[in-house]
């Protein structure tokens, strides 16, 4: 078979690029991230006229500066991979703005085919585009298409194949940028050609333009490559900059941009576009905006829509989550019944089955959330949310789009930080995104709620609802302040420009939504899943090993024997054989006494395990916040999942495994413990709310950002939470509030 041709798809955000990509490649896609950054790298395969083609979907950008990761990715791909054709999708209803990127592709010298999309939308708006005229003036093949329905895509691929089969030299298109600039460019080009300066990578004219635009990436590359020529070029640029600043009060960069638009306008005005009726007419989209971004109604609708998304994600996914839980519960029962007692059994049940169950348990949540967010994103509503919320979030160095991840993570109590962290992908501003990513775990996720309920129930039972509300609000306040702190320290820097498009409202296509949802979910299972499983087994090992020394377990065994002997053989046989609930008199007592011994043994084993030793070892500092070794062990266990805190605390208090839903008895036990009082309860609550995220979240942070940031998150949150808990405990104790 012939080797596949490489093609790339480029275009503005909202120009229908993804729709076209999905239409052309169908399900034969492969998503991966570029190493180190979270810009998606999508590749699809197809065969057209028996020619295999590999199509790369470049990130949607408005231009090709060196400011954002997306733009660098797009540019580097074109420069390094030199695809045989670049399909440039252009929104016909918004021709001028879209052709700006086209200009830059032409300057780079890429072999282009223009896919003129949304001819139908343009027509509705009374805009008529003459594709043949555009083709003639741009000297680039132009194919009208409607990506949503697939109309014109056959012809598009035919044309792309034709272009791919022609010899093509990567040569810059000549666009005039005013006499001064052109003169400087000519001077630079002759120098570049003479010195072969970066000519293996870029056409000479392109390098000259990028120097004039003081493009960081190119300046660095040039400086490393050939410092002498680079400084000569910079001297020419400085010279012309001084000149334009003096005469026109602008940098060459803006003159270039103006002339690119001038070039576009001159093409468009030569009969490419005709406007049939008034452009100020109100379109459906504008009418929707009148309501959805209205001063008073807008926020109301927004809260309603977000609330519905939240309900959809967390309530509707309960059913599939329940199925998964039942399935893994059943699997654990089967293992319990078939495997011989011992370590192997314990590892299979507590390590592997719980681990896989833990990984897959999040899948319905992630699917539902991404489906919901994809609807909001594809319909254009998410941009409106950012528009309305930006004023508030900006105060804390965040972005209007940050609201969604916070809500999903537990801004309405009961969310989950795993989909929350993944939802930060909708943010395109890197610093704001990172600050959001690192602070969403502060929100009260569903797994923290039983722990909060346990402690508030035990110590503040008369005002429990009020306290729960207070802690939800507190999570918001702390998350916002932490974001502000991060943005003024490790993530400091000017805000990323907010300027963005409010795209017209559109009906999302089901196909697009499903592909989007599936992509995200699969990435989670594949990339996070394996790590989560490994850590789950590790945590199991930490809470199991080393085992209780022989002598000690022998003590418990002999205690058991003594008790059994005291009740006699027949009673013991009844305990062994009859159902738990049907025991009579003595047998019931015996069973209780045996359970009590089991619980004490479990406590002893836990204390003896690595986790227990860590917990005991940490008492040296944790006493500052009022935590004893039992609390410490529970907190270590809470790293596996926050709700584990309840059951571990139960084991540590010799109460056996306490069911998360039925923790009143544990609450009573805490109340009667002299070490616990209102102050220590509040200190513990605060620590649990804000300390290290559960490891599933940590793995997701690592996958979305880096392992370095994940480690930072664990350390920063724990130190912060411990500081807060210590402060509250010490002051509270001093004032004798307990």
């Amino acid at each position: 078979m012939t080797p596949p041709l490489t093609m790339a798809l480029a275009g503005n955000p909202n120009a229908g690029k993804t729709t076209l990509f999905n239409h052309i490649t169908g399900a034969r896609q492969h998503v991966g991230n570029y190493p180190g950054i979270t810009v998606d790298h999508k590749e699809g395969r197809l065969v057209h006229r028996s020619q295999p083609i590999t199509l790369t979907d470049l990130p949607g950008t408005y231009s090709m500066t060196a400011y954002s990761a997306e733009e660098l990715v797009a540019r580097d791909y074109l420069v390094n991979e030199r695809p045989r054709v670049v399909i440039n999708i252009v929104d016909a209803s918004n021709l001028e703005r879209n052709l700006y990127l086209t200009c830059q592709l032409l300057e780079l010298g890429a072999p282009l085919v223009i896919a003129l999309n949304m001819m139908d939308v343009a027509k509705d708006r009374g805009i008529e585009i003459h594709a043949d005229k555009l083709e003639e003036l741009l000297q680039v093949p132009v194919v009208p298409i409607i990506a949503r329905s697939g109309k014109g895509t056959e012809k598009l691929l035919d044309t792309a194949l034709q272009v791919a089969n022609q010899e093509h030299k990567w040569q810059s298109r000549h666009i005039t940028y005013s006499d001064d600039i052109d003169e400087a460019i000519d001077e630079m080009v002759s120098l570049i050609e003479q010195e072969n300066f970066l000519t293996d990578l870029y056409p000479p004219r392109y390098t000259a333009i990028k120097y004039l635009e003081s493009d960081e990436q190119l300046l660095t590359k040039g400086g490393n490559n050939d410092p002498a020529s680079s400084s000569l070029l910079t001297a020419i640029v400085d010279n012309i900059s001084n000149h334009t600043l003096k005469t026109l009060e602008v940098y060459p960069e803006s003159i270039i941009a103006d002339h690119r638009y001038g070039y576009i306008r001159s093409i468009v005005r030569q009969g490419v576009m005709s406007q049939n009726h008034d452009s100020d007419r109100l379109y459906t989209s504008d009418k929707i905006d009148k309501v959805l971004t209205h001063r008073l109604m807008g926020p109301l609708f927004m809260f309603a829509i977000i609330f519905i998304l939240y309900q959809f994600t967390f309530s509707w996914s309960e059913l599939p989550v329940g199925w998964l839980e039942n399935f893994f519960g059943w699997l654990a029962e089967v293992a319990e019944a078939t495997l011989p007692d011992g370590l192997m059994k314990s590892m299979v049940i507590s390590g592997v089955i719980d681990g896989v169950g833990g990984v897959l348990g999040f899948v319905p949540l992630i699917m539902f959330m991404f489906f919901g967010i994809a609807i909001l994103e594809d319909s254009g509503y998410l941009a409106r949310v950012a528009f309305m919320m930006d004023r508030i979030f900006r105060i804390f160095g965040l972005h209007g789009s940050s609201v969604m991840p916070f809500i999903v993570s537990g801004g309405i109590a009961g969310g989950c930080a795993v989909p929350g962290v993944m939802a930060t992908r909708t943010l395109r501003s890197p610093k704001e995104r990172m600050a959001t990513l690192l602070t969403v775990p502060f929100m009260n996720c569903g797994a923290k709620l039983p722990v909060l309920a346990l402690l508030t129930g035990a110590f503040f039972s008369e005002h429990q609802a009020r306290y729960m509300f207070f802690f939800t609000m507190l999570a918001w306040v702390v998350a916002m302040l932490a974001a502000k702190l991060l943005r003024s320290t490790v993530l400091r820097g000017a805000p990323t420009p907010f300027i963005m498009e409010l795209p017209p409202y559109r009906f999302p296509t089901l196909r697009g939504l499903l592909i989007h949802t599936w992509e995200r979910t699969w990435q989670y299972i594949k990339k996070a899943g394996t790590v989560i499983l490994a850590i789950s087994i590790l945590l199991w090992a930490m809470m199991t090993f080393p085992e209780l020394p022989k002598e000690q377990s022998a003590v418990f065994s002999s205690e058991r024997d003594t008790v059994i002997a005291a009740y006699g053989e027949t009673v013991a046989a009844e305990v062994l054989n009859a159902e738990k609930d049907n025991l009579t008199g003595n047998a019931e007592q015996l069973a209780e006494e045996l359970a009590e011994i089991d619980s004490r043994e479990a406590e002893a084993s836990l204390k003896n395990s690595v986790a227990g030793r860590i917990g005991t070892g940490l008492v040296g500092i944790s006493w500052l916040a009022g935590f004893d070794w039992r609390t410490n062990i529970a907190l270590v266990g809470g790293f596996a999942a926050k709700e584990v805190i309840v059951s571990t605390l139960g084991t540590a208090y010799s109460m056996g495994e306490v069911a998360v839903e039925e923790s009143e008895s544990l609450g009573k036990r805490l109340q009667s413990d002299p070490k616990w009082n209102k102050v220590s309860a509040v200190a513990a609550l605060l620590f649990i709310m804000f300390y290290a995220p559960c490891f599933v979240t940590v793995v997701c942070i690592a996958k979305e950002a880096s392992w370095g940031w994940a480690a930072f998150s664990v350390t920063f949150n724990t130190v912060f939470a411990f500081g807060l808990a210590t402060l509250v405990y010490q002051i509270g104790t001093l004032l004798q509030l307990g």
Binding site: E96, E213, S254, A257, Y261, T293, F387, P497, I499
Partner: protein, 77 residues
């Protein structure tokens, strides 16, 4: 003919861009969205908290923060 910053324009008011004073990344982002001298701009609306502002330019709706709009000088109709 009056020239004022985009920030001070009222809803529904139109004009054409006289000058963009921003440099660096912000300047480039503004220009690549088609906000260049001569472009026609109409104020589309403001967010519930008065900031950011939404504008119509080249058949699209854009939004930018007030402090970004400060850099764009408009010749009011």
């Amino acid at each position: 003919m009056e020239i004022i910053p985009l920030r001070q324009m009222k809803k529904g008011q139109s004009g054409s861009i006289f000058q963009v004073k921003a440099t660096g990344e912000l300047g480039r982002r503004i220009r690549e969205m088609g906000l260049i001298p001569g472009a026609r701009v109409t104020i589309y609306g403001r967010a519930p908290l008065k900031d950011p502002v939404a504008i119509r330019v080249l058949n699209t709706t854009l939004t930018l923060r007030n402090n970004e709009a400060e850099y764009i000088q408009i010749e009011i109709d």
